[in-house]
């Protein structure tokens, strides 16, 4: 079900834009233990968020990233702090992977004053300007234009940063996504669209809403496209490493389709998924990205099972502290309602 990695060679005919002023060293390949640490952090954060929701410790809703960790972590492992991302409604994983502080994230999810957005954004709008997180987004494909703009400013300001745009498969049916792909190729801007194909948009299977092959859409615009197994964090990291190097060198935009799966419901309040089978979920869980990496690292002798268990404990401890901090945090003062409307 998760597709093999395939590189689209036909796409290489896209003309290269002039290279950026500073040519960075090629990315060093990421430390797999760090990848595991990040994936565990996200997994525990998401499991905790569900519990936080169920216990009534947060307002509103959240969309769980559990199952998709290899995507965010693999992708962000190839990025620098000054590279930017735009995220989606399902943003916790992207944002943690980009280096955000789980404490301030949990504070935001819980609607507290010291959260990233002072409690005004919540789960769907977390941003961390310092880490290049230009915001989760409540509108499907809402971040695509913003990401193009971040690529434009990089180009015009002579900065060699890369703009990464996370979207779901559902966003491939939003018109603005096409408009942006066209402009990105037209102007050869440093944009990478990472499409997390988890086979569903809310309760609709992709095949019921999208015709043709998803990746044919960017290809039709001459946007070089790579598809990768989204349960294999090393594969994602490697694919993204190559793309980032090409884009940073002025090679123009790229498209990465990550084939992945969400374990939980569309959002934390979804109890039962009528629209998919238990078998399907089990099949994907059998290729759990965290488990896969752990196995490899133990087999390769990089980690002992005990060390793996320690990493689990560490993630649990970090998130437990975040939860405590979140619960202890204060809600904003009512007077803050009218702040931050204008700069």
């Amino acid at each position: 079900m998760s597709g093999p990695e395939s590189t689209d060679t036909a796409a290489s005919e896209v003309t290269a834009a002039p290279t950026s002023p500073t040519s960075p060293a090629p990315p060093t390949s990421p430390d797999p233990v760090e990848l595991l640490r990040k994936m565990l952090l996200i997994r525990v954060f998401e499991e905790t968020t569900i519990d936080v929701y169920r216990k009534g410790q947060m307002p509103g809703l959240a969309h769980s990233y559990a199952g998709q960790e290899a995507s965010a972590v693999g992708v962000c492992s190839a990025l620098r702090d000054d590279d930017t991302i735009t995220s989606t409604h399902r943003g916790h994983g992207h944002i943690l992977a980009k280096g955000a502080d789980p404490v301030r994230m949990m504070l935001e999810v819980m609607g507290k004053r010291d959260g990233y957005c002072r409690g005004k954004g919540g789960s769907m709008h977390i941003a961390d300007a310092g880490k290049g997180v230009l915001g989760a987004n409540g509108v499907v494909a809402g971040g695509v234009g913003i990401a193009l703009g971040a690529a434009l400013s990089a180009d015009r300001l002579g900065q060699d940063r890369v703009s990464v745009c996370f979207i779901g498969d559902g966003a491939m049916n939003q018109g603005v996504t096409f408009e942006v792909m066209n402009m990105a190729v037209l102007w050869q801007l440093p944009l990478i669209i990472v499409c997390e194909n988890n086979l569903y948009g809310q309760y609709s299977p992709l095949r019921d809403t999208l015709v043709g092959e998803l990746a044919d859409r960017p290809r039709a615009m001459g946007m070089p496209t790579v598809q990768v197994d989204g349960m294999d964090v090393l594969a994602v990291a490697e694919a993204m490493g190559d793309l980032v190097a090409e884009v940073r060198a002025g090679g123009g935009p790229r498209f990465l389709e990550v084939r992945t799966y969400r374990y939980g419901g569309h959002h934390v309040a979804e109890v039962k998924s009528d629209y998919r089978t238990e078998d399907e979920i089990a099949e994907w869980r059998a290729r759990d990205p965290i488990h896969l990496l752990e196995q490899r690292l133990v087999e390769a002798g990089t980690l002992t099972p005990e060390q793996v268990a320690e990493l689990h404990d560490e993630a649990a401890a970090v998130v437990a502290r975040a939860r405590e901090a979140g619960l202890a945090g204060e809600v904003p003062d009512v007077a803050e309602l009218t702040e931050d409307v204008y700069a």
Binding site: P59, G60, L61, H63, H89, G111, K112, C117, G119, K120, G121, G122, M124, H125, N137, G138, V139, V140, A141, G142, G170, A171, N173, Q174, G175, G201, Q202, Y203, S204, D208, T209, L210, H266, H267, A269, D274, Y275, V331, P332, V334, E336, L337, T338, V341
Partner: protein, 343 residues
């Protein structure tokens, strides 16, 4: 994002036809009417994201797929502009589409379709084409869904000639007005307060129809007229209750913003001599402005003091509950405003 625990729109079967009113929630009442109208007129179709098998994000279209099949109710891709355009063309050529926009905020993706196309098509063609369609818009704050899932946008549409705008407050009005909307030969924006789907009330049996442009006195009174829209009607009623014995408050519900029952509103104010407008939309340049201006124009000589507006704050809708409550007009706000009026 879709809604939290689904209100049980279809928890009971369709309302039996009896001579007595039946108690329904707003969600159930809307579901009943959709079922009845689809049964009565085979040109009525329902479209939107996850409206079919899933029954809609707020369960309003629950059960209709089983009854009417996939040619009458079907899921669309996440393509708001495209499927709204499709509905316009279908309406102009023989169907009566009812769109579920899921969140009224997403109508902003289809604004060209709604305002440039649907609203103007009849006029631009000198009356040759009609566009009988309904856009159901789950609306408003109060569920901690933050700034992109909580707006009250009815006023935007009320500005555009060619559109009709409905803002029901009770199950009976919701039912009677939706019937009128579906049968109306014009594009109708139908606003449903998303926190109010579970509100119960009696619904007259049979072919219960509420005409557009007829305000309803929800509670008679002598000292002050409160003009309230949608769920603010209940805030106003609670305020009237709280002031019982102190101030005699008349609560008038316009029920439709376009057409607006100017005479109905003005008549009440001419009797009471005082007016408070309560609307969840932002205060400045919002629907409350038109209501206040109209009353001040048509009841000027009877007004003892200025019309007051109690509206949503002039801020985006904040996420966290304490701020969201401060954003929303409250019973206390209305009570304080009425108490603060000169005698």
């Amino acid at each position: 994002m879709s809604a939290s625990p689904k209100p049980a729109a279809a928890e009971a079967a369709a309302a039996p036809v009896t001579a007595e009113p039946v108690v329904r929630t707003i969600g159930q009442a809307l579901n009943d009417v959709l079922r009845a109208e689809m049964a009565a007129d085979e040109t009525v179709i329902c479209i939107g994201e996850n409206v079919a098998a899933a029954g809609g994000s707020f369960a309003v279209t629950k059960g209709l797929l089983d009854e009417f099949g996939p040619r009458r109710i079907f899921d669309t891709p996440i393509s708001e502009a495209g499927f709204t355009g499709m509905a316009i063309g279908a309406a102009a050529t023989g169907l009566r589409p009812v769109i579920d926009m899921m969140f009224s905020d997403f109508a902003l993706l289809a604004m060209d379709q709604i305002m440039n196309q649907a609203a103007h098509l009849r006029y631009m063609t000198g009356g040759q084409l009609a566009v009988p369609m309904v856009i159901r818009c789950p609306s408003g704050a109060g569920a901690a869904y933050a700034a992109q899932h909580s707006q009250s946008l009815a006023g935007l549409f009320a500005y555009i000639p060619g559109l009709k705008v409905v803002v029901p407050s009770t199950p009976a009005d919701a039912a009677g007005l939706l019937r009128t909307a579906i049968r109306d030969p014009n594009p109708v924006l139908f606003f449903e307060q998303k926190t109010d789907y579970g509100r119960r009330g009696p619904v007259p049996p049979g072919d219960h129809v509420v005409p557009f442009g007829v305000a309803d006195v929800k509670r008679p009174g002598d000292d002050v007229t409160v003009i309230a829209t949608s769920s603010m009607v209940h805030v106003a009623l609670a305020a009237a209750e709280a002031l019982e014995g102190e101030v005699s408050v008349e609560v008038v519900d316009p029920r439709t913003l376009k057409p607006l029952d100017v005479e109905g509103l003005a008549a009440s104010v001419r009797r009471t001599g005082r007016c408070v407008v309560v609307d969840e939309g932002h205060r400045t340049f919002g629907p409350g402005a038109e209501l206040a201006a109209t009353v001040a124009e048509h009841a000027f000589d009877w007004l003892e003091e200025p019309v007051r507006r109690v509206c949503g704050a002039d801020t985006p809708v904040p996420f966290t509950t304490v701020l969201e409550r401060a954003f929303l007009p409250s019973v206390d706000d209305v009570v304080a405003t009425i108490r603060g009026m000169r005698r």
